[in-house]
């Protein structure tokens, strides 16, 4: 490391460049008057533009929220939408029942999950209220209902089936992708010969480079028929097929982040383990993997976030029927797919439009929270662990 000793003097020179009078004097005559001005301007512009990354996040939030706020004003406008009452099924060739009759409030199952728990408790009350006053239930209770039927005489915007569908597909994807991704990363980091290690990275990059619409198409055309032949499922497109598609999408993420967290571990852990007489696999399993737990956790979190918000794959491969059930072989509709499918046909400014933006806001908030957790909590822990051990 020839660079590190010279680093600090260099920066101090560049800073004293402008401050120390003797040095500035000697250089003065070479610089035109506008040089200083240009310097200032460059720095200012760069500062401003760099700030835009933060500003964009705020803008995304603000403008999605702005359109979602419309639910408050649009509520009274027109409860009956002019179009026909036939519920649409996107994703074409499904034989799925489009008007869901499945009524299955598995509250105990949902309560396990922190994401749905805030919406679970009020459901019961929303039900009774809906049953008691059939004409035009209040918007808030409508949103917490169990039926998503936005195009009908009396539109129902129950978000619960969508949330459950999203979680179902995401969990399937994680169950498939996490073990494969982590194990493959362990192999690549600790056991693979050098040439294999060098090849597996471009291969994973290749997998990450497949556009999600292509993965969705693959699931629609190939995986769906395959699964149906093997399991004999009633519906060709279902949550399992969507979950498989999502797992293809998040596999590269989980692999890459896990592998990164392995290779950022200090080499001395590996060497010390071997020096104590442990076999490579023992060192990998008992020392390296536990040491990299925060990184693996971050990988799973980010994989979850990606699967949660992924649109095209679930839109194409999961059947798109907003059923409220936990069965993995029934069609589901996720939150993102709902936006993707219905935003094109919705009347701008209507209640339906605003509800779709509300779903988007929900997606944004969840992934934002996941990112914050992955960013601060996990990284801080990882840093503290190794700073503590090295000093």
């Amino acid at each position: 490391m020839a660079t590190s000793p010279s680093a600090s003097p260099a920066t101090s020179v560049s800073r004293s460049n402008t401050r120390s009078p003797s040095l500035a004097l000697s250089l003065q005559h070479r610089r035109p008057w506008y040089s200083e001005l240009g310097e200032r301007a460059a720095e200012l512009i760069l500062h401003t533009i760099a700030f835009s990354a933060i500003a964009l996040i705020a803008l995304v939030f603000f403008f999605v929220a702005r359109e979602a706020v419309g639910i408050l004003s649009a509520e009274q406008a027109s409860p009956v939408s002019p179009s026909e009452a036939t519920p649409e099924v996107y994703g074409a060739e499904t034989t799925a029942p489009s008007a869901p009759e499945v009524y299955n409030p598995d509250a105990s199952l949902e309560a396990d999950n922190p994401d749905t728990s805030p919406t679970v408790e009020p459901t019961a009350s929303a039900h009774s209220a809906e049953a008691a006053t059939p004409p035009a239930p209040p918007l808030f209770q409508n949103l917490l209902g169990t039926v998503w039927q936005p195009v009908s005489q009396q539109p129902k915007y129950g978000l619960l089936p969508l949330v459950v569908g999203t979680l179902k597909v995401t969990i399937i994807a994680l169950l498939l992708a996490t073990p494969i991704g982590i194990l493959a990363a362990i192999y690549a980091a600790f056991f693979a010969p050098r040439w294999l290690r060098e090849t597996i990275k471009p291969v994973v990059e290749l997998l990450a480079g497949f556009p999600s619409v292509v993965v969705g198409f693959f699931c629609l055309a190939v995986v769906a028929s395959f699964i149906q032949q093997i399991l004999g499922t009633t519906y060709r497109l279902n949550a399992l097929v969507g979950g498989i598609g999502l797992s293809i999408a998040i596999l590269p993420i989980i692999f890459t982040i896990t592998e990164d967290s392995f290779s950022s571990l200090p080499r001395r852990l590996w060497e010390a383990g071997l020096a104590l007489g442990a076999r490579p696999w023992q060192v990998a399993l008992r020392i390296m993997v536990p040491a990299a737990t925060p990184g693996i956790f971050a990988a799973i979190l980010l994989g979850f976030g990606r699967a949660f918000g992924e649109t095209m794959i679930v839109l194409m491969a999961s059947g798109n029927a907003p059923l409220l059930s936990w069965s993995p072989v029934e069609p589901v509709r996720t939150m993102s797919a709902t936006i993707g499918a219905e935003m094109g046909e919705v009347v701008w400014g209507s209640l339906h439009y605003s509800v779709l933006f509300l779903i988007g806001l929900l997606l944004f908030s969840v992934t934002f929270t996941l990112n914050v957790i992955a960013e601060f909590w996990v990284r801080q822990r990882l840093l503290r662990r190794f700073r503590g051990s090295s000093s």
Partner: protein, 309 residues
Amino acid sequence: MVRYGFRKESGEQALIGLGFVGITLLAALCVFGLSVGLLGHFAIGGLPHVTWEFLTEAPRNNNTEGGIFPAIYGTVLLVILMSILGVPIGTLTAIYLAEYSREDSRLTRWVRFGVNTLAGVPSIVFGLFGLGFFVQFVGKGIDRVFGLELVWGKPAIIWAAATLAVLTLPVVIVSVEEALRSVPRQLREASLALGATRWQTIRRVVLPHAFTGILTGSILAVSRGAGEVAPIMFVGAAYSLPELPKSLTSQFMELGYHLFVLSTQSPDVEVTRPLQYATTVVLLLTTFALNLVAVLLRLRMRRRRPLTL
């Protein structure tokens, strides 16, 4: 013979070890097979259907016949516009992060946080953002200011490109910053020691040196955006258009969206399967061609690196 180690390895332990390594190898092969299998599946299924007519004709008869030329044209135009809009901003942000910021400053940490968060936002939310901000706010605003009647305030290729530019921004920033950081420190120090200012150093020394790297990073980032469909579905991509987009405010066809339309909204999905496969191949070729250009650039850069320190 002396055995080093605190424990003699039992047969059981050896078996567990073998099993563990075997399982991880299996997982790695799984990733391998998936990647190569996907590529092979589409190459075998689609390449025979990619004919000259398919590449140069417009779709006919409700997308069940004809080619995909408008979609190819729209995709290329979209990618170019997106690069023009997104790459300069991303590069400048990366210059700030790599050259001006100090790691411990609060602003830097916030910028990094913003970049990371932006990278994690679901693509469909960017679509909503594009609709709410670019179309409804900026576009309608332009119309109102100039007294036009719905010219800018509707889904259009320029808004789709802007949305995708925002989407790819974090990727551009990260890869350009990497390119800048790979410029040897000594070059900067030498330049500063010769009396150049910070900006002069960046413009005359750092940027020329990192140019190929910046180009590579930008192309890779843009190629990610080229395959995204969800954000542009309702900010400008059209179901089927026989003619090409004439201005920045036209709607357009895009390969990924076209594939989505063909495979889900077609009257008879089975009949158009060959078309779907061929479209997939063209889409993959477009994104991978961009990647290939980047890889070749990187190789060339490695070969004629002017100085090694």
